[in-house]
């Protein structure tokens, strides 16, 4: 009996040792790589930008840091999180960024009717791209990133070596990052043309606009983010980037401005009519392509609020 148990224990210990070694090797290997097109905490560490860009995929794919560097002489980093339009996610990502960088002077939040408050205290909820962040789930090797905590990985995913990489099929991308269909940065995929056969209709989108229904909660969440930025010496600015005309509804798209006005947050409505009415500027209803971004940047360059803030 003793011999049996000893052999089983030795076998499983050796197996555990080897898979732990493999996990450590992979964790170290991907530490400085962007895989599956999603954020990498290490590549945005020690960059010490003066401007960070926050928000969802509309931030991730609309704001090119190079534009702000060239035109406003501000070193910039885009930390928009694809698939996550909660203000809480923008906050988590900013907290993680601040752990490894000097505080920036400015933060731009892409603030639009798609935004939801999210939860600052309870993890879970929107779990889009939980798979992409699973490469950070093996916590013994990583710090406790707030962004990762949001995804609420279970005990096996956190402590069993290779478990999260296997479960979320990240092993292949760990070795072959180029196998992923994603671009490294959102604004690299904006050379796409409109791919919807039919433009989305406002009716389809209205249910996605929660801003009027949850105005107070969103205001509260934005206030929380604003105060956090303020306490860290960061000036928060909100910009609403364009959507296609087919899903634009004035009554809804004016609400972000009202909220920012109530909270005294500088706001720029970059949802310019001339851009949103032309399908050539978009690759889908709510994401611009390179044409649209180019036009938006041309106009942003001349925005008095922005010039004033950045040249103060």
């Amino acid at each position: 009996m003793k011999k049996f148990i000893l052999r089983i224990v030795v076998y499983f210990s050796i197996a555990f040792f080897f898979i732990s070694l493999f996990q450590i090797f992979i964790s170290l290997k991907i530490e400085n790589e962007i895989i599956t097109g999603h954020d990498n905490f290490k590549t945005t560490s020690n960059v010490n930008s003066e401007l960070v860009l926050l928000g969802s995929s509309r931030c991730f794919s609309h704001f090119d840091p190079a534009f702000f560097q060239t035109n406003f002489n501000l070193k910039s980093t885009n930390i928009g999180v694809d698939g996550h339009s909660q203000i809480s996610m923008a906050y988590f990502r900013l907290v993680d960024y601040l752990k490894h960088n000097n505080n920036p002077k400015f933060a731009i939040l892409n603030f639009d009717p798609f935004m939801t408050p999210g939860s600052f205290t309870k993890n879970g909820g929107n779990l889009v791209h939980k798979d992409a962040f699973a490469r950070y789930a093996f916590l013994p090797l990583n710090e406790k990133w707030k962004t990762v905590e949001h995804f609420d990985y279970n005990i096996l995913e956190k402590y069993l070596p290779l478990y999260s990489l296997f479960k979320y099929n990240q092993l292949e991308y760990s070795f072959f990052p180029n196998n992923s269909n994603y671009e490294k940065y959102g604004f690299n995929r904006n050379d796409l043309e409109w791919k919807n056969e039919k433009p989305d209709t406002l009716v389809n989108f209205k249910s996605k606009y929660s801003i009027n229904r949850h105005k107070n909660e969103i205001k509260k969440a934005l206030k929380f983010l604003y105060e956090f930025c303020d306490s860290n010496g960061i000036k928060l600015i909100c910009i609403q980037s364009p959507v296609h005309e087919s899903i634009y509804y004035e009554n809804i798209f004016e609400t972000p401005q009202q909220i920012c006005s109530d909270l005294n947050i500088p706001y720029i409505d970059a949802n310019y009519k001339s851009i949103r009415k032309d399908s050539n500027n978009f690759y889908n209803s709510n994401h611009m392509n390179i044409n649209g971004i180019h036009l938006m940047n041309e106009k942003l360059k001349k925005e008095k609020v922005l010039i004033q803030l950045f040249t103060e």
Binding site: M1, K3, F4, R7, I8, Y11, I14, A15, F18, I19, L156, L162, Y163, F166, K167, N169, L171
Partner: protein, 483 residues
């Protein structure tokens, strides 16, 4: 509780340690622990149906005792039929009620009489067909005076509910398993190590082979109208591997787990896809069920004795009942009947008992004739599996019509799977082939491979591959749980 779950990975070592370290000095304690562990194992799925197992246990235990006391044959028959009616009554209600009800309604409506459709929303208790047959074997054997009725209720409860084989077999005979609960089990190192190997091989078959094949088979069967004939053939082949990996994998884990606790269960699969004719296939596939039907149905019906028509009748009865045992659907009945048609020519020409030994025994490769025979037998079984897997008769019919179309000549499309899976499939096939003469491929591995390094590398390879697929592929419940 599934064998390929974290729950079971925690449950098994705890029960093992309690069994050998806490209760090892006392037979009764060992049996009580097995009953408690088995009820926990089953109740993990749905505790309400534990009452069915308990009721079945009490009924058969009591009837067994009464059978030995009864002196008159008529009284003994009443006891026997009480047991049969109670057990098959439960099985009939939970598994077949809706089937018969729906078919009666359809039959009457065919003749112009409308009957209210009163089908019930019944949950099929996992493993009911398995433990029902196991308890029935006890009563029938006691009735036939092949077995002394037990006076030990705990041992009998352990026999009925023994967790490794409770929900999907092997269906044990009381004459074989029950006496093992009367003797104190003593730990046997070789047996336990072999049990671990068999568990590893079973998990590999289930998790790596069956669950991956299931992805392809499910995609093709669920969307058969979208695929070419050649792809449908591929789907049927993948289902053949899926059901083999799934069910024989379960049996391997069950047998291996039993060995850890000092029990020997009967062999349930013996490399069936290496069979040279259908007769051999049925001696190698789901052995515990087929021998059960042979002993408790086929032989009482007269077996192969009697005239030609009697033989034909009995062959059809046993195959159709076996098909119907699998599920309340006409597809299973057709599957059974089709296998009877395959089997009949062999029986009528007295070739059904040919090929007792494994193919190409002592050789590395089979002869061309053997290879052709294996492939043609495999082809027949693949064709029959279409009925087994199809949702209903119309689906099976359409699936077969679509196979035999011009698109059969097209290059098949392989949905979903990555290339690496085919390497594992090839490794699986090679291992099964080269060690086909043993009970299962890894048996006595230390005698086959002297080098510890190679042996442990093989274990590690199987283990890590199983771990990878267990985590990354959505596991399907064992197919036979639904039966």
């Amino acid at each position: 509780m599934l064998f390929n779950s974290i729950d079971f990975a925690i449950f098994l070592p705890i029960v093992f340690v309690l069994y050998w370290f806490v209760t090892s000095n006392n037979l009764k304690s060992q049996n009580i622990l097995i009953v408690l562990a088995s009820y926990l194992f089953y109740g993990w799925w749905d505790w309400r149906f534990l009452s069915l197992i308990l009721f079945s246990t009490i009924v058969d235990y009591t009837i067994g005792k009464q059978l030995i006391k009864a002196d008159r044959q008529s009284k003994r028959k009443i006891y026997l039929w009480t047991s049969i009616l109670v057990n098959l009554g439960f099985l009939g209600f939970f598994k077949y009620y809706n089937f018969f009800q729906e078919n009666f309604v359809e039959a009457f409506s065919f003749f112009g009489t409308k009957i209210n459709d009163s089908s019930l929303d019944i949950i099929l208790p996992v493993g009911i067909s398995f433990y029902t047959f196991q308890t029935l074997s006890y009563t029938i054997d006691v009735y036939k005076r092949k077995l002394e009725p037990t006076k030990d209720f705990i041992a009998f409860s352990a026999f009925v509910s023994f967790f490794p084989q409770l929900v999907a077999g092997p269906i044990e005979r009381a004459t074989h398993l029950l006496p093992q609960f009367y003797k104190k089990r003593i730990f046997n190192y070789t047996k336990a190590v072999d049990g671990m190997r068999q568990i590893l091989w079973g998990l590999f078959k289930k998790v790596v082979i069956a669950d991956n094949c299931a992805q392809v088979a499910n995609e093709i069967f669920n969307n058969s109208e979208n695929y070419s004939g050649s792809t449908l053939v591929l789907g049927a082949i993948f289902f053949s591997f899926q059901i083999y990996g799934d069910f024989s994998g379960y049996s391997d884990i069950a047998i291996g787990t039993s060995r850890l606790f000092g029990f020997d269960l009967m062999k349930n699969f013996s490399f069936p896809y290496f069979s040279r004719n259908i007769g051999e296939f049925w001696r190698r596939w789901h052995i515990s069920l087929n021998t059960w039907f042979r002993d408790y149905l086929y032989i009482p019906l007269g077996g192969s004795r009697g005239g030609l028509w009697m033989k034909i009748r009995n062959t059809f009865i046993i195959f159709i009942v076996s098909g119907f045992w699998h599920g309340a659907n006409w597809t299973f009945i057709i599957w059974g009947a089709l296998n009877a048609l395959y089997f009949l020519p062999l029986m009528l020409t007295n070739k059904n008992r040919d090929y007792i030994d494994i193919v190409a025994k002592g050789k590395i490769l089979p002869s061309l004739r053997e290879l052709f025979m294996m492939l043609s037998t495999f082809g027949l079984t693949v064709f029959a599996w279409v009925f087994f897997r199809a949702e209903n008769i119309n689906h099976a019919y359409q699936f077969i019509i679509d196979i035999f179309s011009y698109s059969l000549l097209e290059v098949p499309y392989f949905p979903i799977l990555g290339n690496q899976f085919f390497i594992f499939l090839l490794i699986f096939f090679i291992i099964e082939w080269i060690w086909r003469e043993d009970n299962y491929p890894l048996e006595y591995l230390s005698k086959k491979i002297n080098s510890n390094a190679i042996r442990y590398s093989l274990y590690f390879f199987l283990g890590i591959t199983t771990y990878y697929y267990a985590v990354s592929v959505n596991s399907n419940q064992f197919i036979y749980f639904q039966f």
